[in-house]
Structures are given as structure tokens and as C-alpha cells.
């Protein structure tokens, strides 16, 4: 092969600290080289490169190397004034790459990689969690982008030593994620919450893959492609949406062009003379502007551009520039007005995004210790008691102190005070609320892991992650939820073979759903598995002597199913033979009840089971049962009450000095709290019993009035006279009610 390589290098190359002589030396090493230096004026190491500096040489090279190899060597200056002519010899096909040997990755490098990958994954998890609450944050997106980017780069490096299946997946995932994030960042569109969710799932998968890589196992990750697809396609959708709402894309193209041209026009017009390239720029740019303005129907602009085109080169450059300046101003005005529109649009979007993350209690907003919010809540509670006192005082002013004017003024202003207090209280309540997605986000991984170990195929569907719930409740139900999901997979969903023989889809389906219903939040865990066999529950209940056959015969199927929530019904080893739910359902039920919620269960043989947790929105507001004892109204937390039951006084028996009644085959100890509270009961022949959840004691009251949802405040210290009183609450009419926690 014979090549003629011409070097015609100028200032721009020297400004990049390139020494062309090195390249000549390199070429000389390839074969027989005849070097003819034409001009050699290379700046000294400490000299500023100028237009005077040039390097020109022709190299005639005879070598067995291919054109591609020579191009590779000259890569950095190839486009900056180097020409290669092939004088002799066929231009060979690119030499087939010698199959690369699998090289050993240096140990230190591998250690480094592992360590850093762990760091990156944990950082990713953190950033994504924040991003979930604030999916529009470009700063966070950039953080996440960088993490993916770094991981991709590092993984590519290890892969360059030889193929490894897990790393190939990691490389693919990070590459795709990076592309999507880059787009989201550069277009300023941000991500959707769903996309963040997918990224979180992908990070889970990366975690799995990385673990498999570290342990030398092989992880199947074909499932990621679907996720990746969804991740990418949703980005496009969102973008389309934005373009549709915002400017038509061709207008933005004009704006783009205009904002690039205008500064260049202005700069060039300050020159005395134009170079050929600069003249060329004028001609080309005007052609583009002409086309675009015509298409968009900006007639005025279009005419101006046309005039300019005609006058260019024909009139004095100065005059041309004056006309050009006019056009530039028009364009700039257009750019400004359009981008102001676009900004408005953006602001609107921002606002939307902000609304969605209004209740975020973590991320960049502010982290507040839970205790502080609780204190705040208590203070507001006391304040509202005080508020009632002021109200009463106003009445007193009017009636007893004889200053009706002052009373009226005070009362008038009380309304404002009241509504301020109410919004203060609401605001503080909101501070405690977080989206249930903070809990749900751990399920995809749990389901994947469990279905893999149990040999089941399970598809998980999550709905309503944005539903908000008191943070304390979310924390408390985490364990029970995991329990329910585990049960659904372990006992609910059948094996793929079993499902196939039943004619069901091979892949089982688990759905976790949250939604608000009135003042409660409902969380459902449903599966399309085998359902719970009522017969077996019945048998087990008898076996465990929880109920007699007779009792059971009186119970509806639904009631029988509820037995599984009772303590002592199931233990681990029986759970599996009992083709349904088992393990610790009583724990689930207890936790939910303690929170003031309810559990219910629906099941249909071979169709599946749904467990519903009905939870209060917040713990700050409680359901209180109002009861009357004598002339006084008291409140009892409804979650403490398992049953309300009326008995005739004659049914009360005395057992070793303790008053008891028999109820449902149990001995209930009675608590006549009126005696302890020093209130005279007015009940005659019939007693009303409030029975606790474990059916072990009953509190005697005269009458149950109603239930209310209310904020229970701690007892102000001046009122702390009896230890039975755990709090106070204020009714709509301003009366104060003592809350008794006597059933706990």
C-alpha cells in the first residue's frame, strides 16, 4: 500500500497543544516513509499560537497497514487539515478484528468497581426516592443521570476485558436509563412519577444483577426490557404532550435559528471586511430564514429577508447591516414574546408539579422530627381548648358582667380566630401525611424475590401510590402488609403447573391498591389464587377449640372466615396445609385495629382472595364513641371497643367479689367506671356494656350516644385530676368531653 498524506495544519491545531511532528514520527514507524517538510513554524512550548504558526508536510508512505489504521493514528487531526490519498494498492476491507482474548480483569480494578457500584446503587436509591416526591427537579434528574452514567462507564470498562452476562445487562440498563434521563434533563421536561417508579425497579434489578455478578451466578433479566421500553416510550409521550400544549415545533425551530443568528449578525457587522466563509454564512442563513418565515406565514419578516437577500453584495455592507439590524430586532422581539409565552406555559406546569408534591415531608423541602409535629399538634390542641374558654368568657361578659358591647366585639372576632385555628390544625395534619408509595415501592422487589424462591410466577400491580396517609400509620402497617403479600404468594397463588391445569393464566396476579374512601384510606391486597376454603377454617376452629360445632353452625361463612384473624387460630406449620392464608393474620388484624382501623376479607374458592385494610387517614383524628354516664358525656376511643352489648342487671354475677357476666361462653369482668369517676349512674334495669377487643372485660355505661371523628387533645395540666382521663375533646357546641381509655 502506498499513501500520500498531506499535512496542512494551522493555529487551531497548535491551540490544542498538538505537536504534528509526533504524527510524522508515528507514520515513519509504519513502514517506508518519505517526508517532505514544506513549512515548519511550530510555536515554542511557552509561546501563544498565532496565525503565523503553520506546519505543512507531505508524507509518502509505503506500508502494509490499512487505511483505517492510518486514519486511527491521525484521528485527532484528521478533520483539521490532513488529507490521505491512496496511491497504490486495493483499499482493503477493514481487517477482520482478531477475536479478542478474554483477558483477566486486574484485581485492584475489580475491587474498585465493586465498591463503587455499591455506592452508586445506594446513592441512586436515595436520589430516586427524593425524585419520586419531586419528579420535575432537574437537579435531581441530573444527579440520577450522573450515577447511571458513571455506572455505565465503569461497567463498560470491566466488560472490555471480556463478556459477562450480568454486566451486559447492567450496561444495557444503565445505557438506556441514561439516554432517557439525558433527554428529560436537556429538554427540561422532567420525569413522570411512573418513570421514577420504573427507574426504581430498574435499580432493584441492577442490584440483583450486581449481586449475581459478584457471586459468579447468572441472573435472568429479560424482564427489564419491558421496563426499559415503558421508560422510554413514556418520555416521548410526555414530550409530545408538551409540544402540543406549547409552541408548534416549526415556530420553535425559527426561534432557535433566529436566536443563534442574531448575535452572529451583530458581531459580523462590526467588521470592515468579510471573509469568504462569513459571506457564505450570510447567504446560507438568509436562505434558511427565508424558507422558515415563508412556511410560517410571517409575511413582513419574509419580505425583509428577501430584500436583504437581494441587496447582499449589491449594496454597501453598512447599509445592508442597518437593514439586517432591523430584521435582527424583529426576530429578537419574536423570540422574546414567544419565549415569554413558553415560560408562562412552563410556570403552569411547574405549579401542577408543585401541587402534586404538596405534602412531601421529606426530600428537599424540610425534614422535621416527628416529635416536633406532635408537640405542635398538642399545642394547637390546648389552644383550641383555650379558644372555647374565650367563647364561654364572652357569654359570661354578656350575662354576668353586664358588658354586652365588649361581649359582642369579642364574639365577632372569635369567628376569625376560630377559622384561623381550624386551618392551623389542618395544616399541621397535612404535615404528617406521606404518599403510601413510600411503602409500596418495596413490594416489586419483595414480590420478585418471593416468587422466585417459591417457584411461582407472579405479576404485581400497584395502584394509588399517591394516596396519602399518616406517616406513623404507614410505618406501622409496613410489616403487616409484607405479611399479606407474602401470604398471597405463598398460599394464594398456585404453582404455574397447577394454574395451567385449572385453565388459569400461568402468571398469577397480585394487586395492591390504595384509595381514599370518606375519612378512611383503604388498602387492598388481592390475588387471583386458590381462595380460602371455609370448610377447612371451620374444621381448624373446632380442632383448636376456638368454637364449638354448634356455635359455628350459627355463623355465616363470612363470620367463619373472620376467625382467621383471631389469635391462636393459625401457626406457621399449619399455614401451608390450610390452603389459604395463615401465618399471623391475627397480628395483621391487631395492628390495624390498634390504629383504629378494620380488616375485612373476601374470598372465593379458586378465584382468589382480597384482604382490605381500612385505615384512618391520620392518627391525630380519632373515632370516639360518645357515651352517657349519669348526666355526664364521656368519650371512649372506638378502636378499643370490640362490641357493644346490653344485658339485664340480673345477669350480673359475683365471682370471688368481682362482678362478672357470662358472654359468648366467656366470663367478662365488669367495670363500673361511674364509681371510680364519682358519677351517679341513672341506669335502671338494663346495663350497656362496652366490651374490649379481646372479649375479657366490659365497661358499664348508661347509654351509647353516637360516634364522632375528632382530635383528642392531651389533658391540660389544670384539669388532670383523674388518671382514667386520657384526653379531652371538644364537641361542636363547644362542650368539653373527657376521653377515657378504660378498655386498653
Amino acid at each position: 500500500m502506498k499513501y500520500l498524506i498531506k499535512f496542512r495544519l494551522g493555529k487551531s491545531v497548535f491551540e490544542r497543544a498538538i505537536d504534528p511532528r509526533f504524527y510524522i514520527e508515528d507514520l515513519q514507524e509504519l513502514g517506508k516513509a518519505d517526508v517532505k517538510i514544506i513549512k515548519e513554524n511550530i510555536p515554542e512550548p511557552d509561546e501563544e499560537p498565532t496565525d503565523e504558526h503553520r506546519f505543512e508536510a507531505d508524507v509518502l508512505l509505503e506500508t502494509d497497514r490499512s487505511l483505517d489504521e492510518i486514519k486511527e493514528i491521525l484521528e485527532f487531526i484528521l478533520e483539521d487539515g490532513v488529507e490521505i490519498e491512496v496511491l497504490e494498492g486495493e483499499q482493503k476491507e477493514k481487517k477482520e478484528e482478531t477475536t479478542e482474548k478474554r483477558a483477566e480483569v486486574p484485581q485492584a480494578l475489580l475491587e474498585n468497581y465493586k465498591l463503587e457500584t455499591e455506592e452508586i446503587l445506594s446513592r441512586l436509591r436515595e436520589s430516586l426516592e427524593e425524585l419520586y416526591s419531586d419528579p420535575g427537579s432537574l437537579e435531581l434528574i441530573n444527579d440520577v443521570f450522573r450515577s447511571f452514567h458513571t455506572l455505565k462507564g465503569n461497567t463498560g470498562l470491566i466488560l472490555s476485558y471480556g463478556e459477562e452476562p450480568n454486566l451486559k445487562y447492567i450496561h444495557e440498563i444503565t445505557h438506556k436509563a441514561e439516554t432517557v434521563l439525558q433527554k428529560a434533563r436537556d429538554t427540561g421536561i422532567g420525569l413522570s412519577q411512573r418513570q421514577v417508579e420504573i427507574l426504581q425497579e430498574l435499580v432493584d434489578r441492577l442490584d440483583d444483577l450486581f449481586l449475581a455478578f459478584s457471586e459468579g451466578k447468572e441472573e435472568d433479566a429479560e424482564d427489564v426490557f419491558q421496563l426499559l421500553e415503558e421508560l422510554g416510550s413514556s418520555v416521548e409521550k410526555k414530550e409530545e404532550l408538551k409540544q402540543g400544549e406549547g409552541l408548534p415545533s416549526d415556530i420553535s425551530a425559527l426561534l432557535n435559528v433566529a436566536s443563534q443568528y442574531v448575535p452572529v449578525y451583530r458581531e459580523l457587522c462590526t467588521k470592515e471586511e468579510l471573509t469568504e466563509e462569513e459571506e457564505d454564512f450570510f447567504r446560507r442563513s438568509l436562505v434558511t430564514l427565508y424558507k422558515v418565515t415563508k412556511e410560517l406565514g410571517f409575511e413582513d419578516l419574509n419580505k425583509k429577508v428577501k430584500d436583504l437577500q437581494n441587496s447582499f453584495g449589491n449594496v454597501d455592507f453598512k447599509e445592508f447591516c442597518e437593514n439586517l439590524e432591523e430584521l435582527a430586532r424583529d426576530l429578537q422581539k419574536l423570540v422574546e414574546s414567544k419565549s415569554a409565552e413558553a415560560k408562562k406555559e412552563e410556570k403552569r406546569e411547574d405549579k401542577k408539579a408543585f401541587d402534586a408534591s404538596k405534602y412531601v415531608s421529606k426530600s428537599k423541602y424540610l425534614k422535621i422530627e416527628e416529635g416536633v409535629i406532635q408537640d405542635l399538634m398538642d399545642i394547637v390542641g390546648e389552644l383550641s381548648v383555650f379558644k372555647e374558654w374565650i367563647y364561654l368568657f364572652a357569654n359570661k361578659l354578656q350575662k354576668f358582667y353586664g358588658v354586652p358591647d365588649a361581649a359582642k366585639e369579642l364574639k365577632d372576632n372569635m369567628h376569625r380566630f376560630r377559622s384561623l385555628m381550624d386551618s392551623l390544625q389542618r395544616t399541621i395534619l397535612e404535615m404528617r401525611m406521606v404518599p403510601v408509595s413510600t411503602l409500596f415501592e418495596r413490594f416489586p422487589k419483595l414480590v420478585r424475590d418471593l416468587s422466585r424462591t417459591l417457584g411461582k410466577k407472579v405479576k404485581l400491580e400497584i395502584e394509588g401510590g399517591e394516596t396519602k396517609l399518616d406517616k406513623v400509620i404507614i410505618e406501622k402497617i409496613a410489616e403487616p402488609m409484607i405479611h399479606l403479600v407474602r401470604n398471597a404468594i405463598d398460599h394464594g397463588i398456585e404453582t404455574p403447573e397447577e394454574r395451567e391445569s385449572l385453565g388459569k393464566p400461568i402468571e398469577g396476579h397480585i394487586r395492591i391498591r390504595a384509595f381514599q374512601e370518606g375519612g378512611s384510606v383503604v388498602i387492598e391486597v388481592s390475588d387471583d389464587g386458590r381462595g380460602i376454603d371455609v370448610e377447612k377454617v371451620r374444621k381448624k376452629a373446632i380442632e383448636k377449640s376456638l368454637y364449638t360445632e354448634e356455635e359455628l353452625s350459627q355463623m355465616s361463612e363470612e363470620e367463619i372466615l373472620q376467625i382467621i384473624f383471631q389469635p391462636g387460630f393459625s401457626t406457621k406449620d399449619q399455614a401451608t396445609e390450610l390452603s389459604g392464608r395463615g401465618v399471623g393474620m391475627d397480628v395483621v388484624a391487631n395492628t390495624v385495629r390498634e390504629l383504629g382501623g378494620e380488616v375485612s376479607l373476601q374470598t372465593q374458592k379458586s378465584l382468589g382472595t382480597t384482604v382490605r385494610l381500612i385505615l384512618p387517614l391520620t392518627l391525630a383524628i380519632r373515632k370516639i364513641l360518645l357515651v352517657r354516664i349519669g348526666e355526664v358525656t364521656f368519650g371512649i376511643p372506638a378502636e378499643d371497643v370490640g362490641e357493644v352489648f346490653r344485658i339485664g342487671r340480673e345477669m350480673v354475677k359475683s365471682l370471688k367479689g368481682v362482678k362478672v357476666v357470662y358472654h359468648r361462653g366467656r366470663v367478662l369482668e365488669l367495670d363500673f367506671i361511674n364509681e371510680r369517676l364519682g358519677v351517679k349512674s341513672t341506669a335502671n334495669g338494663t346495663l350497656t356494656l362496652l366490651i374490649d377487643n379481646s372479649l375479657s372485660k366490659g365497661v358499664v355505661v348508661d347509654e351509647v350516644l353516637s360516634t364522632i371523628d375528632t382530635v383528642v387533645k392531651p389533658v391540660p395540666s389544670v384539669l388532670q385530676t383523674s388518671e382514667e382521663i386520657s384526653g379531652i375533646t371538644i364537641l361542636g357546641d363547644g362542650s368539653i368531653v373527657y376521653v377515657l381509655e378504660v378498655l386498653k
Binding site: 497548535f14 491551540e15 490544542r16 497543544a17 498538538i18 505537536d19 509526533f22 504524527y23 508515528d26 510555536p43 512550548p45 511557552d46 509561546e47 501563544e48 499560537p49 493514528i73 484521528e75 485527532f76 483539521d80 483477558a103 486486574p106 485492584a108 480494578l109 474498585n112 468497581y113 465498591l115 463503587e116 444527579d143 450522573r146 452514567h149 458513571t150 455505565k152 462507564g153 465503569n154 463498560g156 470498562l157 470491566i158 466488560l159 472490555s160 476485558y161 441514561e178 439516554t179
Partner: protein, 118 residues
């Protein structure tokens, strides 16, 4: 002895560059971002700088721009990825001597470095 500066936010990459160049007899300083690199470059004289593009605090291109304002004669190699073709042009415009496409092996790096510094 020749002295090099390796700039990358990834510790893996930083160490790879360090390892590769040290095996060629370079003394290698490292920096995690452009800002750190600039500070080092103000204090010390380097025979070559190798910098990543995508970095927090100050990215590689900004670093290159500011570095070139004070030094025109030290070769700077940028670490890029295939997807960053546009940035390659930008880097050239800002005065990059050359680039190395990630992923690369130590010997690839050494080859390129030898092409620009002797």
C-alpha cells in the same frame, strides 16, 4: 519524570488511568471534578491532563475551557462515550488535544497518551 493529572468523578476510572500511566513511569495526581483539577493545575505543571466530561461541580468541558485560558501547551485528553459525538466537537473547539472513547483498556490509553506527549 513526567507528571499527569487524571480527572474523573468515578473512582474506578480515576484509578484505571492512574494505574495505566504509573506503569509507564508517570507520576499521577487525581481530581474528582473540574474545580479540584483547576486548583491542582494552578499549583503544579503537568505534562498531560486526562479528564472525564460528565462530572459534578464543574464538568470537563468547563474545566478544559478554563484550563486552556491559562495553559495552551499542555495536551489534554478527554474521556468520552460513543454517545457524546457532539461533545467531541465541542471539546476540540475548546482546545482538547484528543479523546479516548470509554470503555478503554489501560493499553489503549497508553497508546493514545504516547501519541500526544513525548
Amino acid at each position: 519524570m513526567k507528571r499527569a493529572l487524571a480527572v474523573d468523578d468515578s473512582a474506578t476510572m480515576r484509578n484505571l488511568v492512574k494505574m495505566a500511566l504509573e506503569s509507564e513511569g508517570f507520576t499521577v495526581d487525581t481530581a474528582e471534578n473540574g474545580q479540584e483539577a483547576l486548583q491542582l493545575a494552578k499549583k503544579n505543571t503537568y505534562d498531560i491532563v486526562i479528564s472525564d466530561i460528565n462530572m459534578p461541580v464543574m464538568d470537563g468541558l468547563q474545566f478544559l475551557k478554563e484550563f486552556r485560558e491559562m495553559n495552551k501547551r499542555t495536551p489534554v485528553l478527554m474521556l468520552t462515550t460513543e454517545t457524546e459525538a457532539r461533545k467531541k466537537e465541542e471539546a476540540k473547539r475548546l482546545g482538547a488535544t484528543g479523546w479516548i472513547v470509554k470503555p478503554f483498556k489501560p493499553e489503549d490509553l497508553v497508546k493514545v497518551v504516547k501519541r500526544v506527549v513525548r
